[in-house]
C-alpha cells in the first residue's frame, strides 16, 4: 500500500538520528522512495531524474540535528523543491485591453475541452462579470456542436456555430466578428481534440490561432495522463505556444504528476483545475497544493480554505473561547457537524487530508449514515442533556435511543466519544499537542 511519502521517509530514515548527519547511504535510500513516489504519481521519468538530483544535492549538505527529524527534514526539502518547480502563487488569464479577449482551447481527444470551455465561461461570468461567447470549431467529432450548444446554454453563453460543413478556421474568424459586433468581453474558441503528432490537424490549429490572434491559448490536460504528457505538451507548445494549462478530471484519485511534467518541460503555468462534471466544479489551480497531492501529503491548504469559507470569523472566535474554557457542548458539536457537512460529502474532504490521499480513500470511506445517526441522537436530547452529557444515564439513554431510532449502545458510544474529544480539545486549548494515539485507545 502506498503510504504517504512522508511516513515512508520517516521510517526509512528512522535510525539516522543517532549519527546526526545524513550519510550517502541514507540519502540513496531516501531518493529511492522519492523516485518511486513520483513515478507512481506519473511524473515524467526524466523530470524525476533531474528532480531527485537536485534534492540529493540539498540533502547532502543538510544538517539533521535541528528540531525536525531526518525524515521530516527530507520531506521539507522535497516539498520546497517541488513547490518551486510547480511554480509559486496561482496565476490568471490575461485580458485584452481591447475586447473581446480571445481564449483558444486546445488538447488531445477526450481531455475535456468542451466541458472546460463551458466551465471557464461560467467562471468568467461569476468572477469577472464578463459577457462570454463560445465558438464551435469542433466540426469533426459527431455531435460536438450539439454538446457545446447545450452546455453553452446552461452557463448562459452565446454559442456561435455554423454546423459541421465549414472550415473550422473560417468559423473561428466569423465567430470573432460576431463577438466584436455583439460587444462580448470574452470569446472562447472550442476546437476538436487532436493528436500532437497529427500534422494536418496541428497545422489547422496553427491557422485558427493565426486567424483569431488569441489573448490566451490554453492546453487542456487530463490529470490521469501518464508519461506521454511531456510529448503532448512539447508538441502543442511548439505548434501554438500555449500560455497556460487547464488540468481536467482532478476530482479523481490520480496523483496528477502530469501537472509537474508539463510545467517542468514547457515552463507554462497551470491556471485552472476542473474538478467534476458539474459546470461550477472549476477553480483556480494552486501549484503549492498540487505539490503536496503529488507527494500524497494531502491538500491541507484546500481543506483549510474550504473550512474558512464556511465559518465566519466571530463564530470561530467564540468557539475557540469555548474550547479553551472547556465549555464545548454537544450543542456546539451538532453545529460543527452541520457546518462540516455543508462543505460537501466527507469522503471528498478526507481526500484532502494528509495521509489519506488517493489510494487509501476507498478504505477510509465515511459512512454518511453514521453521521446521520449522530445527528439524530443529539437532536433527541434535551438542551440540558446536550450541555451536560454526563446527565445521560439509565432511562434517559433509552429515551434518546428510542427518539432517534438507534440503540442504547449507539448513545453510549457517542457520549463516550464526545468525552474523549473534549479531552483532546482541552489539551489543544492549552497549546499542547495531545497524544492522539493514547486518546484513541482510551476512547474505544
Amino acid at each position: 500500500m502506498f503510504d504517504s511519502l512522508s511516513e515512508k521517509l520517516q521510517a526509512t530514515l528512522a535510525d539516522v538520528r543517532a549519527h546526526g548527519t545524513l550519510t550517502e547511504d541514507d540519502i540513496a535510500k531516501a531518493m529511492r522512495e522519492i523516485r518511486l513516489a513520483l513515478l507512481e504519481a506519473d511524473v515524467n521519468f526524466k523530470v524525476v531524474k533531474s528532480f531527485t538530483a537536485t534534492v540529493k544535492e540539498r540533502c547532502l549538505g543538510a544538517d539533521v540535528v535541528g528540531a525536525l527529524n531526518p525524515g521530516q527534514q527530507v520531506v521539507k526539502i522535497v516539498n520546497e523543491e517541488l513547490a518551486a518547480l510547480m511554480g509559486g502563487a496561482s496565476m490568471g488569464l490575461t485580458f485584452s485591453p481591447r475586447p473581446p479577449t480571445v481564449v483558444l482551447m486546445a488538447g488531445l481527444q477526450g481531455s475535456g475541452k468542451t466541458t472546460a470551455t463551458a466551465k471557464l465561461a461560467r467562471w468568467l461570468k461569476a468572477e469577472h462579470g464578463s459577457s462570454v461567447a463560445l465558438a464551435a470549431c469542433d466540426v469533426y467529432r459527431p455531435a460536438a456542436v450539439d454538446q457545446l450548444r447545450t452546455v453553452g446554454a446552461q452557463v448562459g453563453a452565446d454559442v456561435y456555430e455554423q454546423g459541421t460543413d465549414r472550415d473550422p478556421v473560417d468559423i473561428a474568424r466569423w465567430a470573432l466578428d460576431q463577438a466584436k459586433m455583439a460587444g462580448k468581453d470574452v470569446l472562447i474558441v472550442d476546437t476538436s481534440g487532436r493528436l500532437h503528432v497529427d500534422e494536418k490537424l496541428m497545422a489547422e490549429l496553427v491557422d485558427i490561432r493565426r486567424a483569431v490572434k488569441p489573448t490566451n491559448v490554453l492546453l487542456v490536460v487530463d490529470a490521469m495522463t501518464g508519461q506521454d504528457a511531456v510529448n503532448v505538451a512539447e508538441q502543442f507548445s511548439q505548434a501554438v505556444d500555449f500560455d497556460g494549462v487547464i488540468m481536467s478530471k482532478l476530482d479523481g484519485d490520480a496523483r496528477g504528476g502530469a501537472a509537474l511534467s508539463v510545467k517542468a518541460v514547457t515552463g507554462k503555468p497551470i491556471l485552472f483545475a476542473s474538478v467534476g462534471e458539474k459546470l461550477d466544479q472549476f477553480e483556480r489551480f494552486h501549484p503549492d497544493r498540487m505539490a503536496q497531492r503529488i507527494l500524497g501529503m494531502g491538500d491541507v491548504l484546500s481543506l483549510i480554505e474550504k473550512a474558512e469559507k464556511q465559518y465566519d470569523e466571530d463564530e470561530a472566535k467564540a468557539l475557540e473561547r469555548k474550547l479553551r474554557r472547556n465549555e464545548f457542548t454537544l450543542e456546539d458539536f451538532l453545529n460543527q457537524l452541520r457546518q462540516i457537512r455543508k462543505m460537501g460529502p466527507l469522503t471528498n474532504l478526507l481526500g484532502m487530508m494528509p495521509g489519506l490521499a488517493g489510494q487509501q480513500l476507498k478504505n477510509m470511506k465515511v459512512d454518511e449514515r453514521e453521521l446521520d445517526r449522530v445527528q439524530a441522537i443529539i437532536l433527541s436530547m434535551t438542551p440540558e442533556e446536550r450541555r451536560h452529557p454526563e446527565l445521560i444515564k439509565g432511562s434517559r439513554r433509552l429515551r434518546i435511543a428510542k427518539g432517534s431510532g438507534t440503540s442504547v449502545q449507539h448513545v453510549n458510544q457517542l457520549v463516550k466519544q464526545f468525552d474523549t474529544m473534549r479531552k483532546v480539545m482541552r489539551q489543544l486549548g492549552k497549546g499542547k499537542m495531545p497524544d492522539l494515539g493514547a486518546l484513541m485507545r482510551q476512547g474505544r
Partner: protein
C-alpha cells in the same frame, strides 16, 4: 530478428456459432467495394504497425551491465508500465540472463518480448458472439472512447460479420451523448434505442435489450456515461444498469468492455480495479494507440488484475478498431 507469430486477426477475436469467421465472403458481389475494402484493410494493418511502433530498440542489449538494466527499466517506465510491473519484468530477465541460457542481445530481446507478451495475454481474449442475442456493455472513465469504440465495433460486426446490431444509448447524462451515438449508428448502419435526456440509464438499457430481442438483433451494444471510478454513486448506477440488463436477459451482458485511454498513467490500474469490482470486466479496449503513448498501463492491468486487452483503437474512423496482438504490443512497448 524476432520471429513474429501470425498476427492476431479479427477471426481470433470473435467466437461464433459456426466455429469461425462469419465473414461476408462474396467478394465478387461487390468488386469495387471489396477492392476498396482490402486496400483499406492493408492500410489499416500498416497503421496498426505504425501505431504499435517498430521493434524494440536495437541498442538496448548492445552491452550487458548495470546500465543495461537501468535503460530497460527506464524504457518500461516511460511506456507507463509502472514501477512494480517494471521491477518484476526486469528482475525476471536479469535472472534469465544470469542463468546463462540467453546468449547475446538477440536472445535477450526475444526473451523480453516473450515475457512482456505473456504478461499482456492473461487469457484468450475472445468475445463470445454465440449467445443470441449477445449483449455487450461498454464502460469507462470520461472521454476514454466508449462511444467511438461502439460505433467502430458495430460497424465491424455489421460490415464484416453480417450481424444485425442495435445500440442502446444509456448515456443519458452528458450533453449531446445521444446525438453522438445516433450519428455513429447511422455510420455503422445499425439501429439505436434512445431515451429522453436525464432519464434513467437503466431503463434505456433495459429497453434496448428488449427491443433488440424483439427485432431479432444478433448483438446489442449498450453505451454508458463516462464516470470516474471514485464516484461511488455513479459506480452504483453502473452496477444497476448491469442488473437491469440481466433482468431482461439472464446471462446478459455477456461481455463488459472497459475503455482505457492509452495515454493514461498509473491511475489506469485503479480504474480497472474499481470498475471490475463494480461490474465484472471481461476485457479492455485500449484506445488512442495512434498517438505516441505506448499504453503500458494495459500491461500492469493484465498482469495484476488478469483482465485481457481485447481490442485497440487506432483512430477516429470506422475502421480504426483492431484486435489486440500481444506480440506486437510487446515489441512496440520498447520501441524508441
Amino acid at each position: 530478428m524476432v520471429a513474429h507469430p501470425v498476427p492476431r486477426d479479427w477471426s481470433d477475436v470473435f467466437l461464433t456459432a459456426d466455429g469461425s469467421r462469419a465473414t461476408v465472403d462474396d467478394a465478387a458481389a461487390e468488386p469495387e467495394g471489396r477492392r476498396g475494402f482490402f486496400r483499406r484493410l492493408r492500410e489499416n494493418m500498416s497503421k496498426t504497425r505504425q501505431a504499435l511502433g517498430a521493434e524494440i530498440q536495437a541498442t538496448l542489449f548492445e552491452t550487458l551491465d548495470e546500465e543495461t538494466w537501468e535503460r530497460l527499466e527506464e524504457a518500461l517506465i516511460m511506456a507507463d508500465v509502472g514501477a512494480r510491473t517494471t521491477a518484476k519484468v526486469v528482475a525476471q530477465l536479469e535472472m534469465d540472463a544470469e542463468s546463462g541460457d540467453l546468449e547475446g542481445g538477440e536472445a535477450l530481446t526475444r526473451r523480453l518480448t516473450e515475457l512482456l507478451a505473456d504478461l499482456a495475454r492473461p487469457g484468450e481474449g475472445h468475445i463470445d458472439l454465440r449467445p443470441e442475442p449477445t449483449v455487450i456493455m461498454v464502460a469507462g472513465v470520461n472521454g476514454t472512447g466508449k462511444t467511438t469504440t461502439i460505433g467502430k465495433l458495430a460497424w465491424h460486426l455489421h460490415r464484416e460479420l453480417g450481424r444485425t446490431v442495435v445500440l442502446g444509448a444509456a448515456d443519458t447524462y452528458r450533453a449531446a451523448a445521444v446525438e453522438q451515438l445516433t450519428e455513429w449508428a447511422a455510420r455503422a448502419g445499425c439501429e439505436i434505442v434512445t431515451g429522453p435526456p436525464g432519464s434513467d440509464p437503466g431503463s434505456v438499457a433495459f429497453e434496448a435489450v428488449r427491443q433488440g430481442r424483439e427485432r431479432g438483433a444478433d448483438v446489442i451494444i449498450v453505451d454508458t456515461a463516462g464516470r470516474l471510478h471514485t464516484q461511488d454513486d455513479l459506480m452504483a448506477e453502473l452496477a444497476k444498469v448491469r442488473r437491469v440488463i440481466a433482468k431482461q436477459l439472464p446471462d446478459a451482458p455477456h461481455e463488459t468492455l472497459l475503455t482505457v485511454d492509452a495515454t493514461t498513467g498509473q491511475n489506469g490500474l485503479r480504474q480497472a480495479q474499481l470498475f471490475s469490482e463494480t461490474v465484472p470486466v471481461d476485457g479492455i479496449v485500449l484506445t488512442k494507440l495512434d498517438g505516441t503513448a505506448k499504453g503500458g498501463i494495459a500491461l500492469a492491468i493484465a498482469g495484476e488484475l488478469g483482465i485481457p486487452v481485447k481490442l485497440i483503437g487506432i483512430g477516429e474512423a470506422l475502421e480504426d478498431l483492431r484486435p489486440f496482438d500481444a506480440d506486437d504490443f510487446a515489441s512496440a512497448l520498447l520501441a524508441p
